[in-house]
Amino acid sequence: MNIIPILQLQSNLIASIQTELTDEQALAFQSELLEKNSALNTKGIIIDVSMLDVIDSYMAKVLTDLAKMIKLQGSKAVLSGVQPAVASTLVDMGMKLNSIETFLSLDSAFLYLTKEQSGKTKK
């Protein structure tokens, strides 16, 4: 079920979610990222959600769980491109996405990760 292309850029993975995901697809995406991160020994993962116009509690959990699991692997996962309407909806629902950092764009996320990584090595 590899519907989300995952690219490698230097020591980071970039995954851009282009379409609505079913629950199963979301979980498959999660495991694929974990596998790839491990296999390629990458330090950071950027998940771009600029095309997602709904992030419900389930998807929010998938993303925050992913960030926690990636952290256990010694890497860092971040989000980029959260849509304004999605952000205000999550806040209205009382969800905060605290466990994952978010960035305005892929660029700024990438810049941040590479800067951070040039200061330290992977555990």
Binding site: S80, V82, P84, A87, S88, K96, T102, L104, S108
Partner: protein, 273 residues
């Protein structure tokens, strides 16, 4: 001689009198300033007269000719600004319609007194002409009114100004009392602008917000959280001692938010970071 030519003659012979009588009627009936009305009325009469003086050709029927002429087009254009001005300045529909109806009355009186040999055809054509003008000016009036209403609604929806003060910083001065609906608009506006301009910081200035209740405080908190989720940091400035007290008393946790008492300090912070 065509009926319109006859009308043209009546008009040019009695130009001064027509203007004076019309203006007198209007200023009494509508109770407005003579100076304002004079310019518009003179212009309208001029345009109407020009329509009557359109030289007849053999190609079209006389009536068709007048209504399709450049002069008539000009008359319509003047009527449109005339009606729009009235709509904008609070004239009622009745007042606006009365201009031309009064005009009709004056011309009829004039014809009766001084030009009683005017052919019935001419009078009928004149009547139809003015009636048509009344109808279209009324349409212009209502169009203008609708446009004004729509633009006010638009302004209501878009009244939170957002200023880009640097490549990565936006400034949003909040003003007045913020109710729930306005707060929603503010949040949406801020988030959309932040993403559109890829702004790392948005300074929300609260100097001009007089009251600070739980709702406002909570809405500000929501804004900050949603902005963080999008990737922008909200900086608050202009929080008065009163407001600061309210925030603390209400238990709203603005712990992670950078706040500054003056706008300058807030801007300085954004430049430094």
């Amino acid at each position: 001689m065509t009926s319109y030519q006859e009308l043209g003659k009546i008009f040019s012979k009695n130009n001064r009198e027509i203007i004076t009588l019309w203006l007198n009627e209007i200023t009494t009936k509508i109770n407005s300033e003579r100076i304002t009305e004079e310019k518009d009325c003179k212009l309208l009469i001029e345009c109407i007269e020009e329509c009557f003086l359109v030289p007849p050709t053999d190609l079209l029927g006389v009536e068709e000719q007048v209504y399709n002429s450049e002069q008539f087009k000009r008359l319509k254009k003047e009527l449109q600004s005339f009606a729009a001005y009235r709509a904008l300045n609070g004239y009622t529909p009745t007042q606006t319609a009365n201009y031309l109806l009064t005009f009709k009355k004056i011309i009829y009186d004039l014809i009766y007194q001084k030009h009683s040999d005017t052919s019935p055809r001419t009078i009928i054509d004149f009547n139809n002409f003015i009636d048509y003008l009344v109808v279209i000016s009324f349409q212009f009036y209502t169009d203008s009114r609708d446009e004004i209403i729509n633009s006010q609604a638009y302004a209501l929806e878009h009244d939170t100004p957002i200023v880009k003060i640097s490549k990565k910083t936006l400034l949003m001065p909040l003003m007045g009392i913020i109710d729930t609906i306005k707060a929603q608009k503010i949040i949406e506006g801020l988030l959309e602008a932040a993403v559109e301009h890829q702004a790392e910081f948005v300074i929300v200035d609260m100097t001009a917000v007089p009251t600070f209740d739980t709702h406002v405080a909570n809405n500000i908190l929501k804004t900050i959280l949603a902005a963080k989720m999008v990737g922008t940091q909200v900086i608050l400035s202009g929080i008065s001692p009163d407001a600061a007290l309210t925030i603390v008393k209400l238990g709203v946790d603005l712990g992670h938010v950078e706040t500054f008492n003056t706008l300058e300090n807030a801007i300085a912070y954004s430049i430094k970071s």
